[in-house]
Amino acid sequence: MSGVVWSVSAALFLLGLAGVALRRQLLAMFLGLELMVLTAALALGCTASLSGRGEGFVAALLVLAVAAAEAVVGLVLILRVRSSGRPAETQSLRELKG
């Protein structure tokens, strides 16, 4: 598992993490989220190809499928927030606290 794969996937993962943590719009955060998941899938795939163990590919594929399902739900929620008249930003989701 060469260092190149790890440095790339780590960088991408941190990029996605930053996207989720720092952005205010929900959609931007969602993109960050998807980036993180796909980076993991990428890492799995590359590792599998390098080590020749087929399991990694199976895992990557399944991860993609599950991520897709998750994405659907995420988008639905963001749309519901928009349709309820609030801007799709973290600031509008402040009522529950304490």
Binding site: A21, M29, T90
Partner: protein, 619 residues
């Protein structure tokens, strides 16, 4: 030990039966007749005491255990009866004087609303005093010792609506408790040391020296000092005069206060085994006697004069014990019981007649015409107290003076000083009360002779004060015979004429001087008080000793306040409650962290993941 004489049982059963009858039958049914069962019981007890005295006189004592009171493992404490020389001689005096005073109190307390309560309390005291005299071991002795203290609390504070009576009762009980601290600790140490507290075993105590010995001796002295009002702890007795006069007569003159001396006599084998302790007792006795006599000389209230006189005579008895003359001490205890009771009852007659509970010197004067019988009784008792020949006091005081003479040196001087001082204050009281009213005095119109039910007991007691002295040899015989007499002490010395003459001379001299002073031109008593008010105030405050006591009490209460309020409530308890408020503050902080923001929760999630990563990295 011979089997238990039935009379000894009667000593307990009669009063108990009378008290039960009075409390459960007479009080609800006919409160004004409660004294009937009580007086019957007094008669029975006096007869039983006489029978036991005769028995001991013929040489048959008894020391029997009724039942085992407390036990655990190998240790046990019996509840028993011990009839021996010392016990019985004092028992006779107490029984007789007690009976007469209770008869007197029926008349004295006739109109009082708490009449039945008073009679019952007095009889409960009577029972516990008798129990004290015939108990056969220290723990049982301690039981009656405390019971007597409790009765004195309720009797001094009988007129509980009077502020002074309440304070006096509290002071008396707490002082006695302070003294009982000594006795309880002494009893504990005796058990630790000797495993058994029977009086019978103590005459052999000299052969088992132990480190606790001096401590036990000192503690017993401390206890006796409290109960018999010796120097450090005497101040409660003059204040105890707030109680009704029969109480003062019975408890604070004849019986209760002598319990301390009785304890010293009972523990004499133990005390004599401690080098230097008898000397200390003699010194304490002498100091108390002289100090109290001087104070008695300066008092204005009749009963307080007699109270200080009692303190003085108790000091005298302790002085006798200190000198090793046990028999003289017991003999004086018996005679003192008679003449002091008479003096008190005469004072009671005066107070009863004048309708007031406390009579000051300026409210009497020239009473010999209006109250002849009281005057006669008072005179006999006064002569007896001063130690004038025909009366009983002469013989017992003379015995003590002989012992003091033999010891010589400071003891002899102290003995003479006490003899002179006691004659002085009693004659002052006699002249001021009964002889021509002084200009400053204004006797009440209503003063007249006491009714027969009060006059008869006074007369009997006066007779006793006169005759008891002559029974000197029989009393000595009784003290020594009776196989149980554990007293290994010298017998009564013969009447040395020289010593008797010195004593009598001093008494007569004092009488003359006092007569001159009181009956002289400027009636001396009021004269010096006007000229030197500061000195008068000093004497009233027992030369500063009362301030010392008040200081001690105040300091104790301050410590209690610091411990109880400042530390326990405001510091320690507050600190514990503050942990709760700290939790609530933390809780406010914690819930503030949940600011509701979505990004913040994600940051915390990443921080958590980072922490776990770091932790994994550590390994």
């Amino acid at each position: 030990m011979s089997s238990l004489p039935p009379a000894a049982l009667l000593l307990f059963l009669a009063p108990l039966a009378a008290l039960a009858a009075a409390f459960f039958i007479m009080r609800p049914w006919k409160p004004q007749w409660t004294h009937v069962p009580i007086l019957i019981s007094c008669g029975v007890v006096t007869a039983a005491a006489a029978y036991l005295a005769a028995m001991v006189y013929t040489g048959r004592g008894a020391d029997v255990t009724l039942y085992t009171w407390m036990f655990a493992g190998k240790w046990s404490v019996p509840f028993g009866v011990r009839i021996d020389g010392i016990g019985v001689s004092v028992l006779c005096m107490v029984a007789l004087v007690g009976a007469l005073i209770q008869l007197y109190s029926v008349g004295y307390m006739k109109g009082d609303p708490g009449f039945s309560r008073f009679i019952m309390l007095l009889h409960l005291f009577y029972l516990s005093m008798i129990g004290l005299l015939v108990s056969n071991n220290y723990v049982q002795f301690y039981l009656f010792w405390e019971l007597v203290g409790a009765c004195s609390y309720f009797l001094i504070g009988f007129w509980s609506h009077k502020e002074a009576a309440r304070k006096a009762a509290m002071q008396a009980f707490l002082t006695l408790r302070l003294a009982d601290f000594g006795l309880m600790l002494a009893v504990l140490l005796i058990i630790v040391q000797f495993r058994d507290t029977h009086f019978a075993l103590f005459h052999a105590v000299r052969f088992f020296p132990s480190m606790y010995h001096p401590l036990i001796g000192l503690l017993i002295l401390w206890a006796a000092a409290g109960k018999s009002a010796l120097f450090p702890l005497y101040f409660w007795l003059p204040d105890a005069m707030e109680g009704p006069t029969p109480v003062s007569a019975l408890m604070h003159a004849a019986t209760m206060v002598t319990a301390g001396i009785f304890l010293l006599v009972r523990s004499w084998p133990l005390i004599s085994a401690v080098p230097g302790l008898p000397g200390l007792i003699a010194v304490v006795g002498a100091v108390t006697a002289i100090f109290a006599a001087v104070l008695a000389f300066t008092q204005t209230d009749l009963k307080r004069i007699l109270a200080y006189s009692t303190v003085s005579h108790l000091g005298l008895m302790a002085f006798a014990v200190g000198l090793g003359q046990i028999t003289a001490a017991v003999f004086h205890l018996v005679t003192h019981g008679f003449f002091k009771a008479t003096l008190f009852l005469c004072a009671g007659n005066i107070a009863h007649a004048s309708g007031k509970s406390a009579v000051s010197v300026s409210e009497v004067g020239g009473l010999w015409r209006r109250m002849p019988l009281t005057f006669a009784a008072f005179a006999i008792a006064a002569f007896s107290l001063a130690g004038i020949w025909p009366c009983a006091g002469f013989f017992s005081k003379d015995a003590i003076l002989d012992a003091a003479f033999e010891r010589g040196g400071w003891a002899w001087a102290a003995g003479l000083a006490i003899a002179a001082a006691s004659a002085a204050y009693i004659f002052r009281m006699l002249f001021l009360t009964f002889f021509g009213p002084r200009p400053e005095q204004s006797p009440a119109r209503s003063l007249h002779e006491a009714p027969p039910v009060m006059a008869v007991p006074v007369a009997f007691l006066a007779l006793g004060a006169l005759a008891v002295g002559w029974a000197r040899e029989d009393l000595v015989a009784m003290l020594f015979c009776g196989r149980q007499s554990a007293v290994a002490a010298p017998s009564l010395p013969e009447l040395a004429p020289k010593v008797a003459a010195a004593g009598l001379g001093l008494a007569a001299l004092a009488a003359g001087v006092v007569f001159a002073l009181t009956m002289g031109a400027p009636s001396w008593d009021w004269h010096w008080r006007r000229r030197r008010p500061g000195l008068a105030a000093a004497f009233a405050g027992d030369l500063g000793w009362r301030r010392v006591v008040a200081g001690f009490v105040a300091r104790t209460l301050r410590v209690a306040d610091v411990v109880g309020r400042v530390w326990d409530h405001e510091t320690w308890d507050a600190a514990i409650e503050k942990t709760a408020t700290a939790c609530r503050a933390l809780s406010r902080g914690g819930s503030a962290m949940a600011s509701g923001g979505l990004s913040e929760s994600l940051w915390w999630l990443m921080i958590g993941a980072a922490a776990l990563l770091a932790w994994a990295g550590l390994r």
